[in-house]
Structure formats: C-alpha cells, structure tokens
Symmetry: C2
Subunit: 212 residues, 2 copies
Amino acid sequence: MEEKEISQAVIGRLPRYFRYLGELRDKGVERISSQELSKLMKVTASQIRQDFNNFGGFGQQGYGYNVNYLYDEIGKILGLDKAHHLIIIGSGNLGQAIANYMNFERRGFIFKGIFDNNPALKGKVVRGLEIQPMENMEAFIKDNDVDIAVLTIPKTAAVSVAEVLVKNGIKAIWNFAHCDLNVGDDVVVENVHLTDSLLKLSYNFNCKNKNS
Amino acid sequence: MEEKEISQAVIGRLPRYFRYLGELRDKGVERISSQELSKLMKVTASQIRQDFNNFGGFGQQGYGYNVNYLYDEIGKILGLDKAHHLIIIGSGNLGQAIANYMNFERRGFIFKGIFDNNPALKGKVVRGLEIQPMENMEAFIKDNDVDIAVLTIPKTAAVSVAEVLVKNGIKAIWNFAHCDLNVGDDVVVENVHLTDSLLKLSYNFNCKNKNS
C-alpha cells in the first residue's frame, strides 16, 4: 500500500464500514457488492469505492467485496491487529461506563488502570481494577507500557493532567473533557465533546420544528 | 436572516464557537477580531468569516466581533433560547453520567424522566428522578411534553425502542447505542458512537507510531 495522507473524513467513516461488515460477517454473509453495501449503509456506492480506493481497493470487478477479507483488512488499517494499553483518568459515571464496556477489550483495548482524586472512590473496584489516587499515575504509565489515556475529568483539570500524561510518554488521548487540549503534534487527540453533540442536535431540532 | 440550507460541517463547528465565546465572555472580553479568534481556536480567519456569513455575518469592519452579542446570537441559532424536555432511556453508568451533567440543564435541556428495565435499578434516584420501568415511558412522553430522548441502551434494544419513541411524538434522539436508527426524515438523530471514536483514535495512533 502506498503511503499517502488519508483525509480525516475518510478515516472517520472507516469505523462505520467496519461495524457493518462485522454485522454482515456475523450473519454469515460472504460477499457484498458496493451497490448492496450502499443501500444498507445509506451512502453512495461511488463514495464507498472512493473511500476504499484510498487503501488500494479491496473489490473485484463482477464479484464485489469478500466480507471477511474486507473486515479483516479494515481492522488492520484501524490498528486492531495490535493490543493497546489504556488508563482512565476520572472514575465518575462516565469513566466507569467506558471501563465496563466489554466491546473495547474485544477489539484489543486493554484497560490497565483507573485513577481518581476523589477520596470517596478510593479502593472501589471498577471492572476488576481498584481505583488509584492520581499520584500513582506517572509511575503506573511507565511500569505498564500504557499508550492511550482516557480523560473523563472536568475541563478545569484536563489541560494540566494532559501535560503530565504526555510528559510520561502517552501517545494518544481520548478526551471527554469539554475543552481542547494543547499537546504536541506527535500526540493523537480524539475529542468526544458531548455538549457540542447535544447542541448540534438542538440546532437541527429547532430548524425542523421552527414553524410548529 | 435568509432561509437557506446550512451544511452539517458548519453546524458541527457552531458549538465550538459558542464554547470559546462563552469562555471569552466569562473572562470579561468584550470584543475580538476574527484574527484573534482564529489564533485562539486554531482555525483560519477566513473559515470563521465564511462560517458566520452563513448566518448573516455578525462582524463589523475595523471592530471585529462583539463577544456578548455573538455568543447570544449563536446561542439562539443553536436553539438555546428555548427550553427542551428530555428523557433518558437506559440508566446504566452512561445514562447516569448524562443525567448528572449540570451543564446541559444550564443550557435549557431539562431532564424530566429516566427509564430502565433492569429491576435492580427500580426506585433508584438519579439527579432527583426516580428510575421508572419502561412500560411507563409512552404515557410519560405525552404527559410531560417531551421532545428529546437520550438512548443509552444496548443496540439490541435501541432500534425497537426508537420506533416506540417516534410513534409517541419524540422529535429528536440523542443516540449512544452502537447502531444506526432508521427513523423518518422528520426526526433528528444525533449519534455518539464511542467505539467509532476510539477506532478513529486507534487509526491515527497507529499511523503515527508505525515505525516506532
């Protein structure tokens, strides 16, 4: 595969392809045409072909796509053929929800530790992991070969905690705090801004219901 | 303001403008140029001007933007000058995290009820609301003028619950279930697919760390 810059829009669509292909595979479907996939996913067949062409194609003229093969290839592109070690910073409801979501572990995202400064949570066990105080975090990252940190703490603390994480070798942050993190270009930040998502819903809701 | 179709990309950026302007306002900043806003938000000044031009501009040549005014106007565009009634379906950790997030209520999103079929949760109180069994849901929607439903249930149940919601007059669904909902075009669906977000992070992480 040629090395080229793939747009974030294409990358953003890969997990959805992966999800649909996984469901097809689970149903025993062996092959699918771009037209059928298009109908199922409600995107144009031309978009599907263009997206896959970024990675060299995958399809065969007159045959379509082999579901298993395509699923595995997209999985590899997404880095799911490797295991990743994660820690969660912030063990409130959101941190616990993420820790308890089985699906992530099935995909190779292994939760190694969970941290919180709230003394009321000290010693509480979340998915087999005892909540640890924040002062343990730096040593833990080094000892456990942690690559990814999940930030589910309020924005007031997020920026400074992110700096500590990066200083200790964290290469990717899944950020649920409602702020942008200023980390270097070599650190991947993926934001989940729930408020932004709700405001987008609100915009679309109010547009549709303006006259009612 | 002229009625025209605004792209979802522009709409997706509005909440971030709103967030930055709110922070500027809280700091007492009265006006800001598109250049300063550009530097702060790390988007081009031309993008900012183009985005705002979709709504008629807001800026004044040689003055820049009035922070308070712009904040209020974007708030109105986002529908935040009206109150919305929400229910949450699924009172696991994620449902509870959303219910407990104070910021939503401050923006006019009022949680009216929370529902779950898990008998272990029956009678538990989340943010002042007693968790109700699912069979109460339909009557509750009608009696409480609910517009928005938040779906934090597994995907196996989400599609059928969404149908019931729409049948009972719900006009917008904030969907955290890991599936696409097939509801009519008159219903707004805003998806938060956490797995998709983590896979996107994984892709970008693996691209950057391929050779290490």
